[in-house]
Symmetry: D2
């Protein structure tokens, strides 16, 4: 951490600042010039609050040199983490395709979709049971019953399942769920992250609607620092001024996450754009950029369901997309798993 002093900083104030930092176990490197005074802090600065330091009387600005996340940091954990999901691997050379409806609606629906998805090559079944909706008047999912139906589809097809949690109060219902998803709106629900960090479940952490990559990794850190290392990241588009798509898929997040962390990252092209015809080209781009998997919405009747659907593709479309996905996963030298 580097502290840039004000030009007219008082000596006593600088002295106080240095004493505070030394008391926190940090070593100080000073560089005072005619126009600029700089104090470099060496040591573990992850617990120093930048905003507080910035507010100190003698301080003009504060800049971090090292990342504020440790457990997620590739510098300290250079090897790729491969997450094990009910025997299927996610990460490094193993590519995962999570497919299924936005919302579980009925036993018939989820089993049909699961069966079709598996036949096409999907490796994990997704489906929404608890649905966070921006309107209190919109369908909120089948909740516990939805999880039951997902488990039936799992029994019928052998596919592991991933479904979203919206409150830690329901955690017991997820005991047989293979991956617990934390949605974009809960990415900074720190109470929830803390509890999941103290569980042994695999967590799929979606990026917040307008979270920076650093904020996202700090949320990962909440889980890892609790002792749970089974985390998969999911980029699903960020909020920008552009309105041609619902969100803007930040494809750069894939190589950046691979460089900064040791964790797998998947892409969700469905939510990113809200347009079914963009799913295929963005899935191709994601594979080429180095993603470890895809999450794709598949619905057996996207045009009739009156909750969700705009970004769902049909099982027939999914079949075609998966032909391309398989060809390209192979081209990248990876294994569908």
């Amino acid at each position: 951490m580097i502290i840039i002093l004000k030009q007219n900083a008082k000596l006593e104030s600088i002295k106080n600042l240095k004493a505070t930092m030394i008391a926190r176990g940090l070593t100080i490197h000073e560089s005072i010039g005619d126009f600029t005074g700089i104090i470099g802090l060496i040591g573990d600065t992850s617990k120093i609050d930048m905003a507080t330091v910035a507010s100190m009387e003698c301080v003009s600005d504060v800049k971090r040199v090292s990342e504020p996340y440790k457990a997620a940091n590739r510098k300290f954990n250079p090897l790729d983490t491969i997450v094990n999901v009910a025997g299927r691997k996610v990460g490094e050379g193993f590519f995962s395709v999570m497919a299924g409806p936005c919302s579980v609606e009925s036993e018939e629906q989820i089993i049909e979709v699961a069966t079709r998805a598996k036949a096409a090559g999907a490796t994990i079944l997704r489906g929404g049971a608890y649905k966070p909706r921006s309107s209190p008047y919109a369908f909120q999912g089948l909740k516990g019953d939805g999880i039951e139906l997902l488990l039936k589809a799992k029994a019928a097809t052998g596919l592991p399942i991933v479904t979203e949690i919206t409150s830690i109060a329901n955690i017991d219902l997820y005991s047989d769920v293979d991956i617990i998803q934390v949605g974009a709106r809960n990415m900074q629900n720190f109470d929830l992250l803390y509890e999941l960090g103290h569980s042994d479940k695999t967590i799929l952490l979606k990026r917040g609607l307008s979270s920076t990559i650093e904020e996202w990794l700090m949320s990962v850190e909440y889980i890892l620092s609790g002792g749970n290392n089974n985390v998969i990241l999911c980029e699903r588009g960020i909020r920008t001024y552009e309105n041609a798509t619902r969100n803007t898929l930040d494809i750069s997040a894939v190589p950046i996450i691979k460089r900064l962390t040791h964790l797998p990252i998947i892409i969700e092209p469905s939510h990113a754009t809200g347009k079914t015809w963009l799913v295929e080209p963005l899935a191709k781009a994601a594979i080429a950029a180095g993603a470890d998997g895809l999450m794709i919405e598949v619905h057996n009747n996207p045009s009739c369901a009156l909750c969700d659907g705009a970004q769902s593709i049909t099982p027939d479309d999914f079949d075609k997309i998966m032909v391309e996905v398989k060809r390209r996963v192979q081209f990248e030298g990876k294994i569908l798993s």
Copy 2:
């Protein structure tokens, strides 16, 4: 709601769409031209999911005509809501100043700040007990003990208190809290909003980091639709590309909220910008724009506290700001309450 049909839409598909909408109790107005077909839906469309309609085969685009929020909508509730906070009024001609430290740190600190804030003219005491922090390694607040200390300060000064909730699991600790704050990161924690909507507490709902005004009002709707009408909104800056300030204060939100809803809105200039020298000019702008109050961070020793502080002002600075605030509240013909 207006549905714009595809140019090559099949008649059967259009027929299905119309039947679905009629089945939902809506009346249909058709306007089919050579180049464009339009279907207008008349009736209560608040439960129709736009994304689903947009996904239907024959549909090119869907546009809302009426707002998706009802209980918050001034159209249906033209009179200003005045929220009563332990005998103090917020809204319409009553102006509220909520002041206090970002975090409660000790009994001595909170009572000193509360006493100074009250003397300067503050009408409500704010203070953080449960602190959502982006880093798991940062100070997370004194939690339950912090609420106890706020209650002591309330007893000592008579000021009502406002403090943030981060999990519904702790709701019992807030029984004597006058206003429960929902922070920006929890603005779309719908489980939390639902529960607060079924309580009788006054809720201060901050705008999410990058929430649209409509999303914000839908979150308000979660609370109001549960039967709780005691809601105060708080604009605290939105996320933009600009990096001269931490966030960009959206001053237009004040007149927009006053026009769209019947609820009071206050401004928090401290968090909006992260710079103490901007608190005064932005507080002045907020009063002039028609805000019903201010939330200002005041700390008795901002430069030494090692959690938070960059945006806190000292009690002496607060005294000066309040001289200006009082003059201007009076100029606007409002009453400090």
Copy 3:
């Protein structure tokens, strides 16, 4: 400027870096720790390209300590600049109201609007002659004829005029124009800025649609560094994700510009939001925040003109707004000029 070295930086590479900087007349302060090496550069770093330094082999990151603008910087020019516009002052305690139509349409129109605007208290007449339009099919203004009409209105009312330039090729037409406006889309048209910096005209420089304050000040620097110190800044809203308003008025820009520079800044509430009912509350907020003036669109028949108009108010509305503006300018201890 502070250079943060890579942990594994080669000594030779560091040596080269230092030699390069010394050759550019800079003094070097080194601080090499076990985990972090920092090089501080003291001297005039305004000509050092940060991106290039960042690309050097041994460099991890580069951070500026001092602002890259000089002539606009209040540090080096502490006194407020008061711009003289045909005898009227803009800046410090002098408040300016520039009013008029988005587009000049006819002699009758511009003289009527000018007369009404002057009567209401406007101090400068605005009007568009060259109109940059996003569509090639939209009305592009009366061009040279429009400037002629503005000059007639100036002769008739005595109000100085401000109008936009879109190409340096037309500069001769602006010889009797009192203030040349550079629009948001041309804020980084550096060829145009350079030429205007070598003229003696007063320039009104609008902020770009998504320009940072620093970029805006660098564009100011293009003008000032050419020797032309007659610059007024105009904040007119920035592009964000919010769609309740056309742009988001960045009210913080007012106190920030006042702190960073010595130049006057005015606010344009009309373009910022695209809604006439927001003009009055935002004008009030601008005055309270410390702005040196307002630019307001006034049209004698906003509902019929088929180019522009959504954000125009009528002369009658302007009369009412000006009553408020005058009261508030006086309240701030400023003089309408």
Copy 4:
């Protein structure tokens, strides 16, 4: 175009609105319900200004149904445009790689880079002569001499050249330039676009820093409507709140542009992110997403040049990237041209 009327709209005002639209040759479809009145306009609405209509007394909102661009619109020009650049094809199945330094610095430099780029497989040489720089104190390029040096490199290698124009005043210097680039900051310099639309040069139009896709296509329309159909689009990253990269590459722009228009689109991964290690993964993603080409900065000594460089890769790195590019262009069934 759909006009949504205010609930309390006066009949006379509606009558005026309809008369105005009929006078403009449009056909009107009305749909007046109890709560909502809608007027659909059928015909060529591209010259109707939405903002003006929105400002009319009886109007609540206006929404476009059809795109405001014609010449660029795939609906009216379904076949892919293949742009011919000195015998090399760009578009449809032909993939272009434009490589070279950000700035031309010397004859030796540009010829070496051109030779290396060609050997690696580049098909067009890029190089900056007129450089728009945000600081007036930064190196602004070799200008006319830079173009001369590019022409020497073209003579030496046979590669067509692309270089940026910043002012129409210099157009004569570009007579032997194969592609004239319009940079992001000039995307809405309509005077420049107009002139280029009346030339016969091939234009590479970069997307503005925070332009919507629709605004970008309206700028394309300025060129096409002048009679010049030789336009290539270039996505180079948009401005968002994310600061891990300089800009956020909007990969979705590729399939969207291919769907909305008939024009070729290339991707510039260098400027998009400002990080050399992101060039390769983003180039791969661009090819997979369907881009018609790449623009890549290559510099023979990126670490020493004191203007630009952070995003430049070395010729050796470029060799490696091109091995991947060639493999992938072939995989997509396209031809490097």
